[in-house]
Structure formats: structure tokens, C-alpha cells
């Protein structure tokens, strides 16, 4: 991934989203309450999906910048 092809800010956002997902998962595993599990399912997991999509987008942007695809 080259600096020109990949907006670093997007990757930073992906890291933050993954970290929030991680914390919610940690809360579920340390002390499960119905609210914690609901938050994990309906907020945490979509955040992870979003982070993953940002990462995939960054990879694609990089490949495009290198004219591989």
C-alpha cells in the first residue's frame, strides 16, 4: 500500500472502529448482561464489518494505484 494510493486516515478510522468492537466484545466476555450483548450484536459487529470494509477498500485503492487491477 503506497502513501499515494491509501488514505491513511481511513485506515486509522478502521483501527478505531475495530478497537470499539474489541472493547464491546471484551465487556461481553468479562461480564455478560443482556444490554452488553445487544450492544455487541447491533453496534459492535456492524462496526467491525465497517472496519473490515475500510481495510478492503484501502487494499483495493492500493492495488489500483499500483495499476495491478
Amino acid at each position: 500500500m503506497s502513501p499515494q494510493g491509501v488514505p491513511v486516515r481511513l485506515l486509522r478510522i478502521a483501527i478505531v472502529l475495530a478497537a470499539i468492537f474489541n472493547l464491546l466484545a471484551l465487556v461481553v466476555m468479562v461480564r455478560t448482561t443482556p444490554l452488553a450483548f445487544t450492544l455487541f450484536m447491533f453496534v459492535g459487529q456492524p462496526l467491525f464489518v465497517l472496519a473490515f470494509l475500510l481495510l478492503v477498500g484501502a487494499v483495493l485503492a492500493d492495488l489500483r494505484a499500483r495499476q495491478i487491477i
Binding site: M1, S2, P3, V6, V8, L11, R12, A14, I15, A18, A19, F21, N22, L23, A25, L26, V28, M29, V30, R31, T32, T33, P34, L35, A36, F37, T38, F40, M41, G44, Q45, F48, A51, F52, L54, L55, A58, D62
Partner: protein, 235 residues
């Protein structure tokens, strides 16, 4: 390599969190020295989640220069792509199982009178009788309040979601009432084939059809399942 070593040290240092997280509850079941699958899922989940927080910190640090180096690529792939997949699976498995426990139901204060009665050995309510005699080994609330089969599980989970919503937003009415009449099939799933049920004088043959199709409710004779709620003590 240095960073990996640091992450490993961090995980080892933080792993006692898993021990701290053990929730005490009742008489321990004979689980053997190796523990249960559920405990392993939880333990691995905590270790992976802590490890990934460290990995994310390394990934963030590797982006400092403003460019994406091969090292940063590695950290990102692992910490945003691979390890969270494992965490998602473990948390989902643990959360789903844990959400069926009595302590999970009792974590909402409106449910406390029901759970306290359930655990009260002096209570003669139907729920307490099942609990104190060990008729249902675990997840007693969930077992009696969910239908059988996959559809029953899904229905119960959606109902639980509704409970969380109403509890969190305060959009519920007191006293708490069961949403729909208690179906006999939930009783008969366990009792239906037992000789005690089939040969009981209280269940004459001519009534059996009515019990099976729900025209006569089990709870009408065997209730109340839970004690009546005192309005003053509810909120």
C-alpha cells in the same frame, strides 16, 4: 519481532483478567480439571480481545510516518481483518449461551422478585419447586419460557431483544405479565411422556386430549408459577 514479543508479554500479563472475570454462582458442577467448553470459549475470547487491542496499538503506531509500510500492512491485516473474526465468533458463542442463564434474566431489576422466588427453597411456587428439586438442570428461566426447536430459540431471542429495548427505554408496564398465555407444550415437552403424568389421577383419560391441545391449561391447576407481584416494591 520486538513488537510481537511485547504483545505476547502484554497478553500474559493481562490474562489474569480471565480469572478475575469468573462469576461465582451456586454449587460448582463437576467439570473436571480441564473445565467446560464454555469456560474455554470465554478464556480464549478474553485473551484474543486483549491481544488484539495490543495489535491495534501497534498498527496505529506503524501508521505514524504517514505512509503504509509492509509492517503496517501486516499489523492491519491481522488486527482489523483476522483476529476480530475470531473474537466475533467467540463473543457471539459466549454471549448467546450466557444470555440464557438465570443470572442474565435476573440482571434486570424488574425480574429480581421472580428470580429471588425461584431460588427460595421455602417457596412453593411452581418455578421454585422445579428449581429446588433440580428438575431443570440449568437455564431454568429460558427452558420454561422458550418453545422447542430452532424456531423456539429464534422466537425467544427476538422476545429477549424486545425485553432489552423496553427495559432500557422504560417502556414497560407494571406489574410484569407474561406476553401470551403459557402454552402447555412447554410443560408437556418434559412431562408429557412421563409415567407419573400419564397415570396421575389428576389427569383422567378424558381430559388428556384437552391437555394436549391446550384447551385446559396445566397452569390452571398447577399454578401459580411465580408469586404475585407487590406493586409497591416494583420500581
Amino acid at each position: 519481532m520486538k513488537a510481537v514479543r511485547r504483545a505476547a508479554i502484554l497478553v500474559v500479563l493481562l490474562s489474569p483478567v480471565a480469572v478475575w472475570a469468573q462469576v461465582p454462582g451456586g454449587v460448582p458442577l463437576p467439570q473436571g480439571w480441564i473445565g467446560t467448553t464454555s469456560e474455554w470459549v470465554r478464556g480464549f475470547g478474553i485473551v484474543f480481545a486483549v491481544l488484539n487491542l495490543a495489535l491495534l496499538a501497534f498498527a496505529w503506531r506503524s501508521l505514524r510516518g504517514g505512509g503504509v509500510t509492509p509492517t503496517a500492512r501486516g499489523w492491519l491485516l491481522v488486527s482489523v481483518g483476522l483476529v476480530p473474526l475470531m473474537i466475533a465468533f467467540l463473543s457471539f458463542a459466549h454471549g448467546l449461551e450466557e444470555s440464557a442463564t438465570v443470572s442474565s434474566c435476573g440482571s434486570c431489576h424488574v425480574m429480581k422478585p421472580f428470580v429471588e422466588d425461584l431460588r427460595n427453597v421455602k417457596s412453593d411456587s411452581l418455578a421454585a419447586t422445579h428449581f429446588k428439586n433440580g428438575y431443570i438442570r440449568e437455564n431454568q428461566c429460558y427452558t420454561c419460557h422458550s418453545d422447542y426447536g430452532l424456531a423456539g430459540t429464534i422466537k425467544a431471542k427476538f422476545a429477549g431483544l424486545g425485553h432489552v429495548w423496553r427495559y432500557t427505554t422504560g417502556s414497560y408496564e407494571l406489574p410484569i405479565k407474561i406476553a401470551s398465555p403459557y402454552p402447555n407444550v412447554r410443560c408437556l415437552g418434559c412431562h408429557g411422556a412421563s409415567q407419573k403424568f400419564l397415570n396421575s389421577d389428576g389427569h383422567p383419560k378424558e381430559e388428556m386430549q384437552n391437555l394436549m391441545n391446550g384447551t385446559v391449561q396445566c397452569i390452571a391447576c398447577h399454578g401459580p408459577a411465580h408469586p404475585e407481584q407487590k406493586k409497591a416494591a416494583l420500581r
